[in-house]
């Protein structure tokens, strides 16, 4: 797993910790100025404040040399996950539609959040171990997580089943009180048309061990693991690169 590191990224070690210490995978931190991703099975754009979030969140990170390699990896169908700031980078780079703006209440929100899973089949590498309508609990930690897009784009995302995570109450109901940032239609996570690029505001890497209060995040990593095992060509390449 390749984990991108921009100046100001803060969640790369958490992703690498889960990959290596919890799952026994290999993780490589890749500095944003590099042009070569190597041959990873998956790419992570972690949370943080890439380039200080100057101008707009993710706006400068999009032009980092590494992003060309990430875009090529995504275009070839490689699994890419962007969490929090990584989601913001993915929207700025045009890999996912829409944008993320200041929370409607203007506060930074750091909390546990219930999420309703929808259309897990549309996000195969990342949600294949989760069920449609299931409620999971992940940490959120952001000041700019209000998802916006024009109504036509929102309708298209809904029609294609590409809204895969929504802020919800513990019962799975999507309602305004359960929405921590004012995101349109309670959207917390979306995928690209190919289903291989997932952007979400919550932090799955911070919910991978029971000691930290929850393990629902680990299920995204487990989904990826199973999905990779079911891709013979990828598995073969992974073995040959060992």
């Amino acid at each position: 797993m390749a984990v991108a590191v921009f100046p100001g990224t803060w969640s790369e070690r958490d992703f690498a910790h889960v990959a290596e210490s919890v799952l026994g995978w290999r993780a490589r931190l890749v500095w944003h100025a590099e042009r070569d991703l190597g041959t990873p099975d998956a790419v992570v754009l972690p949370g943080g404040f890439a380039h200080g979030d100057h101008l707009r969140t993710g706006a400068i990170a999009r032009f980092s040399p590494l992003m060309s390699a990430v875009e090529a990896f995504a275009a070839a169908g490689g699994p890419v996950i962007g969490s929090c700031n990584g989601f913001q980078v993915l929207t700025e780079a045009g890999l996912l539609p829409g944008a993320l703006l200041r929370n409607d209440h203007l506060e930074f929100r750091c909390d546990w959040q219930h999420l309703r899973v929808e259309h897990p089949d549309a996000a195969q590498p990342w949600l294949t171990d989760l069920a449609d309508g299931e409620v999971i609990r992940l940490p959120i930690s952001h000041g700019e997580g209000r998802y916006v897009a024009d109504p036509g784009t929102l309708d298209e995302l809904e029609r294609e089943g590409r809204v895969v995570l929504r802020y919800a109450g513990p019962d799975g109901e999507v309602r305004p009180e359960a929405n921590p940032n004012g995101s349109e239609r309670g959207i917390a996570g979306i995928v690209n048309a190919g289903g291989n690029v997932l952007g979400l505001m919550p932090h799955p890497e911070r919910a991978a061990e029971s000691e930290v209060g929850g393990t629902d995040g680990l299920r995204l990593f487990r989904s990826l693991e199973r999905w990779l095992q079911e891709q013979p060509a990828r598995a073969e390449r992974r073995v040959s690169s060992l």
Binding site: L55, G98, L101, V148
Partner: protein, 93 residues
């Protein structure tokens, strides 16, 4: 020749602007009851060189399109003027 562009980036009209709303509440709390709306935004002052006014306009339009504003939620307008101090040093005091 040297040009100065003042670029105003603001949220599109349909996009909620909680920062602007909060500033508006602050003004009304100070007694400015007539304040109907505040929209927040950014002001960017860019000093650059271009051969002509047309080239300078085209350059600013390109900068806005490629980086300064995200068309998903923002619009950009600008004022462009020749830098009268262009022969003085430093050029950008």
């Amino acid at each position: 020749m040297r040009w100065i562009a003042e670029v105003h980036v603001s949220l599109r009209s349909g996009i909620a602007d909680p920062e602007g709303q909060t500033i508006g509440s602050g003004l009304r709390a100070l007694g400015y009851d007539s304040v109907a709306e505040v929209r927040s935004g950014k002001l960017l002052r860019i000093v650059f060189d271009a051969e002509s006014s047309d080239a300078a306009q085209a350059a600013v339009a390109d900068m806005c399109r490629r980086l300064l504003a995200n068309p998903v939620m923002e619009t950009a307008t600008w004022e462009l003027r020749a830098d009268e101090q262009q022969d003085a040093e430093p050029a950008n005091p």
